[in-house]
Each structure stands twice: as C-alpha cells, then as structure tokens.
Symmetry: C2
Subunit: 409 residues, 2 copies
C-alpha cells in the first residue's frame, strides 16, 4: 500500500520552521514580509525539484502543479498557508502545504501517474495578523473579496498588500482557475482528538460564526452610598449576558459554541459601581438555522437584562460567517483512507475557519485534522507528534488518489 | 430661634471653591499642595477674624477654637476636610469645615457664649488621592495610624507627607487632645435624600467595609475549536461571582451592599476563552456580624464556582473597616434640630467612610447629611442646593449648642 515518506515530511516541516524561527521554538513568518518571501522561495524550490510547474496569482497565492494524464481533468488541489501568527507555531498552515508537496514527492518516488493533475496551493495571508481580512488569498480566489479592494489594504505601517506583493516578488499574473476538488490537512487547534486519543479527525465542515460588539450603558455611582435597588450596574448586566451566552451555547444543538472573550469595564475602580461595559459575543454553530436561533435567544435575553438591570444594551453584529458543509463523498474518502491504515478516527467539526471554508464555496472540499499537543495553537509552543503528522498525510494521499484517479495505463 | 447666616455660609463656600477652581466648575485641591495651603490659609484667616485661636498638630490637622465659659469642659468639635479629589467638587469636605466656622460666626453675631469650647477641625488628607491612606489626619488623631509611619508615606513623585507638611507650613506641634463630642456635616454623596425629597439625613453610623482582591485562573483556549464542556473559562467564573455578590448584597439585611467595581480579563481577545480574570469585591454592612456572614457566604459560593467552572479562585482581603455606630444622644440632637426647623428628615447610614468614623472611636460622634444633585460626588459637577446646605448647618448649630450648653450667666 502506498505510503508517504515519513522522515522527509518531518524534515521538510522542520526545515521550513527555521525560516522565521523564534527563540522559544515557534515561528514568526508574517505574511508578505521578507521572511515569508524566504519561506515561499523554499517551497517553490522544492516544488521545482519535485518536477512541478509553479504559477502565482494576483493576490500571491502559489499553485504548484503536477500534470495529470487527462488534459481535460480539473486539478485536485491540496493546500493551506505558509504565513504564521506573530508568535505562531511550526505546524499551523505549513503542515497542509508540505503535506501536499509530500504527496507529490511520494507519487514521484512510486512512479504513480494520476489522471487529474495534482496542485499544491499556498494561500496568501490566512492568519490576518498583518493585513485584514483573514483568509485573504483563498477569499480572493473564491471571489468572496474583490481583488482591487484587498490590494489596497494596509498594515499598521501603511504598507499596502499591493506594495508588499511587489516587494516580495509574489505579485503574479495568473487568473483564478477551476478546481476539481480541494483537500486540506491541519492540526486540530483544539483538544478533542488528543483527549479522545484519536489520530484522524474527519472534518464534516466548519462552524458558522456570528460576532457581536456589545455596549452596556448604566450609571456609575459610589459603591458605598448607593443602595442596591437604585443602581444601574453595567457589569451586573454584562455578567448576566456572559452566563446567558454560556447557557445558550451549552443547551443549543449542532456543535453550539458561545464565548465572551473581551470585556472592558469603566471606570474600573474598586469602589465605583461600573457605569459602562464593552464586551464581545462570539456565537458558533454547524447549522445556520440553529445559529440564527441562538442569536434570537441572545436578543430576547438582552431585552430582559436591560429591564432587570435598568441599563441600555446595544448589540452590533460585526462578523457573519455562514456554516460550511464539506462534500460528503470527499469526507468519505478521508474516512476510507483512515480505515485503510487502521488509524483511529472520529467525525469532527472545525470550530475555526480555514482556507478550506472558502474553497468549499467553489469546489468539493474536505479536511483532515490531526491532534496537537494540549490543543494549543497560535503559540510558539504549538506541537504535534510526528506519527500523527505522518498519519494525516497518508490519509490525504489516499483521498487525493481516489479523487484524482490512478492512471494504470 | 437662632439661625445661621445663609448668605455668608454660601458665599464662603463659593469663595473657598475659587481656590483650586477647575474650568468645569469643580475643585482640584490635592492635600498638602500649594493650592491646599492657600485654602488652609484662607480658613485660618477667617477663623482669626471670627476671634478663634488656631493650632496645628503634627499631621497638619487644624483646630480653631472658640473659648467656652467652663475652663474644664472638653471642646465640642465640628469639622471635615479641605482637600479634594483630583477632579472634585465644591462641597465634599469644605461644607463640613465651613459649617463649623459659620456656627461660630453666628454665635458671635448673636452674642451667645457656650459653656464648652467649640472647635472647628480641618482634617488633613481625607481623600487619600495624593497620599494613602484615606482619612489620614483623623486616623492619626484617633490613634488608628502611627504618626511616624504616616509621615514617611510618599506621593507618586516621591515627596513624603513630612516634606509636604514642611513646605506648606502646616507641620504643627500640637499634641492630640480629648474631644467632648464631634459633629460633621456632609453632602450625602448618594441618591437617597434627593430621591425621597428629604432635607436632613440623620446619620446613624457608617457601614463596615471588607474589600477583596480576587484572582481567577482558568485556561485560555480558542473560542472555535474548544467545546463548551472542556473549557476553563475564567470570565464565566468571574461573572458567576458578580451575580452572587449582587445576590448577597440584595438578600442580606442591615444595609448590605456589594460591588464588583474592577475587572481585568486576559488575554481579552474576542475569539479566545479567557484564562485569567482579576477582579475586586467590596462588601459593606451596618453590622459586623452580618458583614462576616456575607463574607462567609461569598467564600462558600467561591468553592462552588471553582468546581462548577474548573477554575481556581484566590480571595485576598485587602481592607477591613469595621461598622461604626454613632452616639445615640448626639444622633437625637440632630433629629431634634431638624424637628425644630420643620425640615423633613430620615435616618440614614453612611455608605462611605468619613473623618467622623475615626472620631467615633474616641468621642461621641454624629453626622448630618444633606442631599446632593443626582447623588453625584467626587466629580466636578458635584452640586447641592443652597437651602439644603443652610438647613444642614442650622441643624448642626442647634445640635452643637445642645451639647456645648448655652451659658446664660
């Protein structure tokens, strides 16, 4: 049975991790910086050495192609991103790109030809740390974001995406093209696989997200002289909402999640009843109808809490990201791949967004998750076991082959 | 019936408010600054003009004395403080000091002699804005704080109390002396009198206070990939505590109050489950035994919330200030005074600490509250109606006279 080269995959990951390596063992490879350029150059060189032809589109996405035997077949793409968080890890993104490269290398070693071409994609600026939005390259490719507008986005130093693309030499000319399928391997960035001792996460889709800013206005007053009954305590109202967001997320079905991650209290003084709170609400769900029901429930609660606490609560939606369901037949290929190797597997839904989420809008898409240590990501201590990294790539290899078709002629 | 001079009292208040006046109509007269020195000088000059002799003790408290006819009688003191918050108002403190002065002036006008001497006291650094602790001067006078330690306290610029006293010329030599009684008039700094359309608050005592720092340790994790069931959400735990503090304060008797005024969330990012929260708890009650019961209930709840949220919660007491009960006969004098003038009155408990709280430890003490606009204090917009200010001073005049005794000889 065809397998990838474990040692080569791991060594390539470690070699790429040297580009922008941090003292604590992590990676700082912000998109379209010179460090990112070095990482891209290394990837492009490896692709060339693997006999692939490379093209770059106008937002800097790199597509390295291994030709298929059927000139009419749409490419089966495998990819992810090479950029990192400011204090990121070795695996987030890099794994998915190098897993694609390793599949091609392994097919080369085995002398296997596929009917459809295989493409390895490296999407520009997935992280959104330097330029917003996140998922920039895949979003432009999928037609979610208008290219010209995105090229004008600036980082904190006033450098535009257009300028950064030019200075790194990755302002390409390729036009968007159709894909026959898209696969992405990624560390889970959550605790489920590790806690359940599962090697392969078969990703059914990604949770939809609705993000809100909440502004609560009460009246600040002295903690001593102000009786409880006359207070307009904005923090009391905020705390009620935190509990309700948690209640909603723990009682609604379909992988519901709810988080208040940010809270700012004013005047934030020990003996003053808070008059103002700003906070965020992040609601997620695998089904859009359930996600909407969660929002409606939140609104109902807010009206109630306003009365109860004599405060005013303004709710402002800032992000809406619909749930994404992956292609059932590709998801099955992932399941079958894991079964072939006897890897433990479980269905999982991605809580975070990935480039695959935008790809799912234009092509049949699936993802493979592998465990990461403590579920920790976006951190220099991000870590994963080599055997899991290898397992995910083996599964991907067979899923890709099933889709691309082995040319036995 | 003897009455104070309304116009003179108001004009003196307005004149003193020019010393350190802010653009928005407030006062910035931080303790032992040159502005405070100017305010003190003005007060001392007025006292001299009213025929009083003045002495200053080693912490800078000023005592202006109008002699009584009985050389053995302990003085009846009336006072408050001349320092203000950084953005303070015209009435907080200044009212109590100038009410004492106005009583003396009015007795002079009427040619009334008292058996006991009358003293007007201006306590150093009540606010605690420049030097900690608050209630510094009255605390030293009452033997709560050791003088030498307090003299070494420094402001943010490294200037000690000792140096500030010397530079303003208010480092006196007077030793603490005994008081026969102590009265203090003050704006309420709360909403009760205004909301109930009451002119005179007969203050029964001051709430005890127990202040806590709370540190909650959970585990930060990604809002997307982390299922609700495995989270250790420090903000969820904090919000539970906010609600419980409110429940305790609204269900316990004896003027219970409970406030979470300060909260800091880490990492405080929209899509990260908070791993750490620092917050404060301020519990107040008129009875020490009830205050202790509130603390016990809080501790019981904390143990419960720790389990429920899988977090660790550290509770650290930083201030304990026992409840203070004023002298019933002096409180009655205040009641009687209000009755004489036909002013509306109600019993009230001071939620905040005042110099009177430390005086109550060494002498029979009472306070008179008058309404302030919107219950707002420690703010440049602090305001009070002249008729209420005058009423409070009239009540005080008669309470003082009852205690000092009119010499009809």
């Amino acid at each position: 049975m065809l397998k990838i080269n474990s040692v080569r995959l791991w060594q390539s990951l470690m070699e790429l991790a040297q580009v922008g390596a941090t003292a604590k063992g992590g990676v700082r490879r912000l998109t379209l910086t010179d460090i990112d350029r070095q990482g891209r150059d290394l990837f492009v060189r490896w692709c060339g050495e693997a006999g692939m032809s490379t093209e770059v589109d106008r937002i800097g996405n790199i597509f390295a192609r291994r030709a298929g035997t059927d000139a009419q077949a749409l490419p089966v793409a495998v990819g992810s991103h090479l950029d990192s968080q400011p204090s990121g890890g070795k695996f987030d993104g890099a794994y998915g790109v190098l897993a694609g490269l390793e599949i091609v290398r392994s097919l080369n070693d085995a002398g296997v030809r596929t009917r459809a071409p295989i493409e390895v994609a490296a999407w520009t600026n997935e992280e959104g740390s330097r330029f917003v939005p996140t998922l920039m390259g895949s979003g432009v490719f999928a037609g979610v974001f208008p290219l010209e507008k995105i090229l004008d986005e600036k980082d904190v130093d006033g450098i535009s995406v257009r300028e950064a693309l030019a200075s790194t030499g990755y302002a390409g000319q390729a036009e968007p093209h159709r894909l026959g399928a898209y696969f992405e391997a990624h560390i889970e960035q959550g605790p489920v696989l590790e806690e359940t001792r599962t090697t392969i996460g078969v990703v059914l889709g990604a949770l939809g997200q609705r993000w809100f800013d909440v502004a609560i206005t009460g009246q600040d007053s002295h903690a001593g002289p102000t009786p409880m009954q006359t207070r307009k305590d904005a923090l009391l109202a905020a705390s009620r909402l935190v509990l309700e967001v948690n209640r909603i997320a723990t009682t609604f079905p379909d992988y519901a999640r709810g988080t208040v991650g940010f809270m700012q209290v004013k005047p934030n003084s020990r003996n003053v009843v808070p008059g103002e709170v700003r906070m965020t609400v992040d609601l997620r769900n695998a089904r859009d109808v359930t996600l909407s029901a969660m929002v409606e429930e939140l609104k109902r609660i807010i009206a109630h809490v306003e009365k109860e606490t004599r405060t005013e609560i303004a709710l402002n939606e800032v992000v809406y990201f619909p749930p994404s369901e992956f292609a059932p037949d590709l998801v099955d290929s992932v399941r079958e791949g894991a079964k072939k190797f006897g890897y433990s597997q479980r269905d999982i839904v991605s809580g975070a967004a990935h480039d695959a989420v935008y790809m799912a809008r234009i092509a049949p898409t699936a993802m493979v998750f592998v465990p990461c240590e403590g579920g920790i990501s976006h951190n220099e201590i991000e870590n994963a076991r080599a055997e899991d990294i290898v397992a995910g790539c083996n599964v991907l290899l067979h899923a890709v082959l099933e889709r691309a078709g082995i040319d036995t002629g």
